[in-house]
Symmetry: C2
Subunit: 415 residues, 2 copies
């Protein structure tokens, strides 16, 4: 048996042990974990300092080093996050449906944990506590595989979280970290059918593609967002400017930021100069088609590739269309099924767009930046699903659960 | 572009075209398809005759040939099945949840089709009409890959169903059949991310394993059922005999049949001789552990492998345990997360079993044979899921849908 298989066995044991733990006990553990994170912050900071030093020596980009860096405040935020999760209502155990059959069988559809969740993620070590908190709240065991850059930080955090599990009488193996930095370990995790029920990758497009392509365990694909705003001929142009500026610039490196603008030809001349002016303080590079460039001569020409690109940068592609139908077709061709928006005062056009654009979240007259578990009021978020199976859009606690049918009979047999 | 990619493009176009089709129109098409299947039955029978002849020439097992064979009655049943699907209530378009955020955003969670569903299946050509009916009812486009043995039959059926689509003004590409018998075609279908939203394999364990191992498209794993009945020390033994006989012998080749019996040591001497007698007319081979063989000397010894085997045959493995805890641990180790049952009059023991056995369907005092979309009252069934992602247990129409978040704003931006 490999180390990873042994880890899988322990996770499965922990999964069964967690079935006997009450919701209240899980919340107690989360609060204890928060306390320990705070009180043992120096230990985490020491480990993180080593990660940072190694990253600097290897010449890591300063932006990446910032993502890797923990501070006393960031650790406090991690602890605070666990307390917030403890406050959220529980969903596991709820009876989602109940029906009685003519033969007397009573069938209940009961919400249960997914079981063992594998999470593969990149640099930011705060994901470690966050992912554990959400999975544990919903009664799942979790196996984490973090980025090798953050390994020492992750080991320190996991050690503390596991001691919180032990101190509160929980199975410590409800949380396990793969410490091998070998890529083969991640590859093996993706094949752990029978041990791992679901894999959730969190990170850049490359990581997610690799998990989708190599995993035989069911995956929830998260993240990549080539989000569009379509400014219709019947748009309130002031509102359109506000929405595009917000969706593009409020935070650029996130999956719900706007990457591409689609504009109805009729309002282009009136709209584009105002938009260009509003975007200029953020120095957003515009890449447009012929029609756009006739109005904005400084605009870079857009290639087909631009329309398919998630920039995560101060760049915006622009596409001119003659109708909402053309806008919908363009968006359905290039979007990543994440979040797309129409700005229009025309109710009918809005409904058409909402109905026909294929995305997890479709908006009329609001920024795509709202695609977020907290903004949706879920109180938590493990990621944003861009697939259609199981969960779509922001995933909170319920999306970390499955169900089972519980059937009470009194001797029924099938005729 | 390969033929299969072109097929994928056409399926995606059909998916979008289907968004504009009403539920009523889809039902009309299903009824028209049923009519055409009946009136053009001779065409299907001719094609089927060729398939049968080829199968006989290649020496196919008579049982398999029977599964492949269509008759006028079986075609009538296919047509009747489509009419029944047309009668079922619709779920697509339903608003599953609606909430308003403090900032005024109104968020609706709306049920939508999955999009493009790929179905890979084996010999039985009636699956062709059935799978089309369920997918089309829920607004999905479907790409079918049937067994090569049934290719001529499938081509004839699909041709008729596509003509029903055309005659009722629907996109014919809502149904496409991969006619290549090359295994590479099935392999390519499993990699059609971006075209196919979900793959559902229907068939034997080998087919399902191959799809799970090779697909990069999200899969719903169906079918394999190593189902257990546990006869507790507090069981009503008459009821236990009836349930085991039904679950084992009522139909042996199905995934919800009982393959393994777990017995509490305390009632073994009283129970086993009665069970053996009740099973003897069906000539069920019993394979048991030492304790079982002391009571039933003719019983074959059971190996570890027996406990993990889905026989789909007149064979039953038997395991002795000393407690419900041991029964649960044994079942969780060997089951395929499909259906497991406890027979007991002890309410507490029953609830423990229902809570702790990890399976899609857990029963107290009823045959595992009830795990079925029709028996559950879903009015249809596309398969039985043994994974935890998306759908678990019998899958009806709702399990062929996803959702999208539809958000109405009036200019909200994120602060």
């Amino acid at each position: 048996m490999t180390d990873l298989q042994a880890m899988g066995e322990r996770a499965v044991s922990a999964k069964y042990a967690l079935q006997k733990v009450s919701a209240q006990e899980r919340d107690t553990t989360l609060r204890e974990a928060a306390k320990l994170l705070s009180s043992q912050a120096p230990k985490i900071l020491d480990a993180n300092e080593e990660d940072i030093r190694a990253a600097q020596e290897s010449g890591m980009h300063p932006g990446m080093i910032d993502r890797l860096r923990l501070t006393k405040e960031r650790i406090e935020a991690m602890a605070e996050g666990l307390c917030q999760i403890a406050e959220l209502p529980h969903c596991v155990g709820e009876i989602m449906e109940r029906f009685e059959r003519p033969n007397g069988l009573v069938i209940e559809k009961k919400r249960v944990p997914l079981g063992v969740i594998g999470i593969i993620y990149e640099s930011r070590p705060n994901v470690t506590a966050d992912a554990f908190g959400l999975c544990f709240k919903t009664g799942n065991a979790v196996i984490l595989k973090g980025g090798s850059d953050a390994l020492r930080s992750n080991i320190a955090i996991v050690e503390i979280l596991r001691s919180a599990l032990e101190q509160t009488g929980m199975p410590a193996d409800a949380l396990q970290l793969i410490e091998s930095t070998d890529r083969a370990a991640a590859a093996a995790l993706m094949k752990m059918n029978g041990y791992v029920d679901v894999l959730i990758p969190r990170g850049g497009a490359g990581l997610i593609r690799s998990v989708v392509e190599n995993s035989t365990v069911p995956v929830i694909e998260t993240g990549t967002g080539n989000c569009h705003v379509y400014v219709d001929k019947d748009a309130d142009l002031d509102m359109a400017v506000r929405i595009v500026v917000n969706a593009k610039t409020q935070r650029i490196g996130v999956c719900n930021a706007c990457e591409s603008l689609v504009i109805h030809r009729d309002i282009e001349a009136a709209f584009l100069p105002r938009l260009a002016e509003a975007l200029s303080p953020s120095r957003v590079e515009l890449r447009g088609d012929q029609a756009v460039r006739e109005i904005l001569p400084d605009c870079t020409p857009a290639s087909e590739e631009d329309y398919g690109t998630e920039y995560l940068d101060y760049i915006l592609s622009l596409k001119t269309v003659d109708s909402v139908e053309e806008a919908i077709a363009h968006i359905n061709k290039y979007n990543t099924k994440h979040s797309d928006c129409i700005v229009t005062q025309n109710k009918e056009t809005g409904e058409k767009f909402l109905g026909e654009v294929d995305a997890a979240c479709v908006y009329v007259n609001a920024s795509t930046r709202f695609t977020d578990g907290f903004e949706f009021g879920f109180g938590a978020e493990i990621g944003i699903s861009t697939q259609k199976l199981h969960a779509r859009g922001p995933m909170g606690l319920r999306e970390l659960t499955s169900y089972k049918y519980v059937i009470h009979g009194n001797g029924q047999i099938r005729g």
